[in-house]
């Protein structure tokens, strides 16, 4: 009764093999000799045959398939849930009870495989019939469905009403018992296919089952399958692979080169802002700063990409190129970057501008590109898109990298930059215990502590041999320095804000302390214990928050 042609049991059945298996089980139950024992159901006046008890079903399953009782119960419940068996006493609860509750078999017309998917017209007719039978007293969700269907298939509502009436009249021609049974059957079918809210629907298939069947389809070894395999293997062969020894070498080199520059591994000068709340570090390493730090300038020597990515580095490189009269290379490269990352609407205009300025013969800032790349680029300029200048950009990049960059590193300009670069000082310690501010949690390797005479001297022996006025002198000068800097009216050492800052610092110790407590694993621990001291429980506010993590390393730096 579907509103569309139902397939003749071909495709849908193949997709749901569990249904055909269940049907085979049900049919084998019908065997007059070896099937399930049938009883009769006795109502007031009528006797309806072919009722089975749950117990009988379970026992038959156990005996026929030699399975355990749990499994038989589960299998029986599956049969009931898919509508092949329906309970007579409590039709809405679709489960198999292993006792004397009666069940009956569903007619093959209402089996899931015959009549699937359930059509809306059929459901509408069923609801109309129920409406007539119950005089309008439909269950809530059925009422909702009824209204919804009335809206959806309004144009066939005449047919719905006509069919509902006629089907009821046709049913009246039967015996009472038959009428009851047929009504039960239809009700079960709709309970399974349109379950009431809250009941899980057995018809739902998870997404993985769909892909399972798809994979099974691919398993057939056709010519296409082998062609696809060959293609896959060919692509795999063409991929570039690197030997792990080469990889690891490069990795080691990278780590050793970058180690001193890493703020977590080697500490950051002047201090870790997260620990000390002093953001000088960030100010000094801002993207565009007048005087870059030494570490930063050293980083430019690692690779050309580093140099170009740093705005300060790029600016200095541009200056260098101008002295060499090849600044147009870098300008061209920058213009290409802008094209690649800019807005889509500006692409044609930008391409044109770049061409006029850099590529056209006789242009003001003509760049030197080899002929093949130039040809390709000129071809592509007809249809400009954001990657049309990629080849040319790459060529210029490699040119700069191989040619100008090594010269830059050897140039006086770079050497002067190195010389002028600033090394920030580590923050001074307080002298008095209750004024101590915590050091940066990860002490810098640059401050190789050779003696226990305090860190200013240690700072002096850092790799950066700077003409720092603080570096010379014995302990007394150090003390004097400490006094001096502690009394200096700098915002970080303001007396009023000290207590607050201290407490602030102490509250953040939860993080800093944890970071600092990682130091036991570091090789320089014994000597840097001098450096990595922690303030004592000195401040009353601080006492509430502070949790000392290395009480053993708390020593006066005087010692």
């Amino acid at each position: 009764m579907a509103a569309g042609p139902a397939p003749l049991g071909g495709h849908p059945r193949a997709q749901r093999p569990h249904l055909s298996k269940m049907e085979r089980v049900v049919v084998s139950m019908q065997d007059p000799d070896q099937g399930v024992k049938m009883r009769s159901q006795r109502l007031l006046v009528t006797v309806i045959p072919h009722a089975v008890t749950g117990n009988d079903v379970v026992e038959w399953l156990i005996q026929k398939y030699c399975i355990a009782e749990d499994e038989a119960l589960h299998l029986g419940t599956l049969l009931v849930q898919h509508g092949y068996l329906y309970p007579l006493r409590d039709p809405r609860r679709l489960l198999l009870r292993p006792d004397e509750t009666p069940y009956r078999f569903q007619t093959p017309y209402f089996w899931m495989s015959t009549l699937w998917p359930a059509a809306e017209l059929d459901y509408a007719i069923y609801l109309a019939k129920k409406n007539i039978r119950k005089q309008g007293a439909l269950v809530d969700h059925e009422k909702a469905h009824y209204d919804q269907l009335h809206r959806k298939i309004n144009h066939t509502w005449d047919l719905v009403v006509m069919q509902a009436r006629e089907q009821l009249r046709a049913a009246k021609q039967r015996r009472k018992g038959d009428r009851l049974v047929i009504a039960c059957q239809e009700q079960t079918y709709w309970l399974v296919n349109r379950p009431p809210p809250g009941v899980p629907s057995v018809l739902e298939q998870g997404p993985e089952r769909g892909s399972c069947t798809a994979r099974q389809v691919q398993m057939t070894k056709t010519v296409d399958f082998y062609k696809r395999e060959i293609e896959c293997c060919r692509k795999a062969l063409g991929r570039t692979r690197v030997k792990s020894s080469v990889c690891l070498e490069a990795y080691l080199k990278f780590s050793s080169q970058r180690g001193p520059h890493d703020p977590l591994l080697s500490g950051c000068l002047p201090s870790n802002p997260w620990v000390t709340d002093n953001d000088t570090y960030w100010a000094m390493n801002a993207p565009s700063v007048a005087v870059p730090t030494k570490l930063r300038v050293e980083q430019w020597a690692f690779s050309f990409r580093e140099l170009l990515e740093d705005p300060v580095g790029r600016a200095h490189f541009m200056d260098f190129l101008q002295t060499e009269f090849s600044a147009e290379n870098l300008s061209f490269w920058e213009a290409c970057e802008e094209l690649r990352h800019g807005g889509q609407a500006q692409v044609p205009a930008l391409v044109d501008a770049v061409y006029q300025q850099f590529l056209a013969p006789g242009a003001a800032r003509w760049v030197n590109i080899d002929s093949r790349t130039m040809e390709r680029t000129l071809e592509g300029l007809g249809r400009p898109h954001r990657h049309v200048l990629d080849d040319a950009q790459l060529h210029i990049y490699m040119l700069m990298k191989k040619d100008s960059y090594p010269r830059f590193l050897k140039s006086d300009l770079y050497k002067d930059l190195l010389a002028e670069a600033v090394v920030p000082l580590e923050m001074k310690r307080r002298v008095f215990p209750f004024m101590w501010k915590p050091r940066h949690s990860s002490p810098s390797l640059a401050l190789l502590p050779t003696s226990t005479s305090g860190e200013p001297e240690a700072a002096a022996e850092g790799s950066s041999q700077q003409a720092d006025p603080h570096k010379a002198g014995g302990p007394w000068t150090e003390l004097a320095e400490a006094w001096h800097s502690s009394l200096a009216p700098s915002p970080t050492f303001g007396t009023d804000t000290q207590s607050k800052r201290h407490s602030l610092v102490v509250t953040s110790r939860g993080h800093g302390g944890a970071g600092g407590c990682a130091t036991p694993t570091r090789p320089h621990q014994p000597s840097s214990s001098v450096v990595s001291q922690r303030p004592q429980l000195c401040h009353p506010v601080g006492q509430k928050w502070f949790q000392p993590c290395h009480p053993s390393t708390n020593q006066f730096w005087f010692k």
Binding site: P108, R133, Q163
Partner: protein
Amino acid sequence: MAKEECKALLDALNKATACYHHLVLTIGGSADSQNLREELQKTRQKAQELAVAIRARLTPPLRDRGLGAEERAEFERLWVAFSGCLELLEADMRRALALGTEFPLHAPRRPLVRTGVEGGASGVAARALSARSLRHEAERDFDVEDLHQLEREILKVGEMIQDMEMKVNVPRWTVQARQTAGAELLSSASAGVSSVGGVSVQQRTGPCDLSKALAATIFSAVLLAAVALAVCVAKLS
């Protein structure tokens, strides 16, 4: 009047389709038999005859451009109901074919599903054919030939539906049904109330049964009183 004729024919087709549906329900079940298959055949042949007749009646007015808007709307309504009915019939016929092949009545025989439906359905078929009763005159291997014929008939009906779609252009969504929601409740008394059978198996006696029982008790009480009076009269005299 052409419209009344069409309506009458459509009602008859509707009846035949409903009866056919009712009969197809029991294929493969315990009530399946030669007689059932024969009834199925007769019902569907009648339905097809009706379908052809309706189509002949409905197509000319719908192809007539000069028809008034109201008349046309009416005919369109009838057309939509007719095509829906025909599709229901075709779907049921396909299912009957599938089930008939799966549950053949003769060897190799699969046991029929014991569904609890036992009685004959000749009343239903008779209703479909608007006849008083039905005579069963089928031979032994009726169902096998019947299946072949069923296949051919399905194809015919399919073609008819196709043809109808091509010849007459009635957009379904523009048709407004005349019946409103719940219209079936306002039906005539012949659409039975509860005597059609409560769905609950705990059979609670409906009001019709109650009145019947009441009448029966009153009658028996009167009868008893009459017998008692007669005995008294006989004793006294």
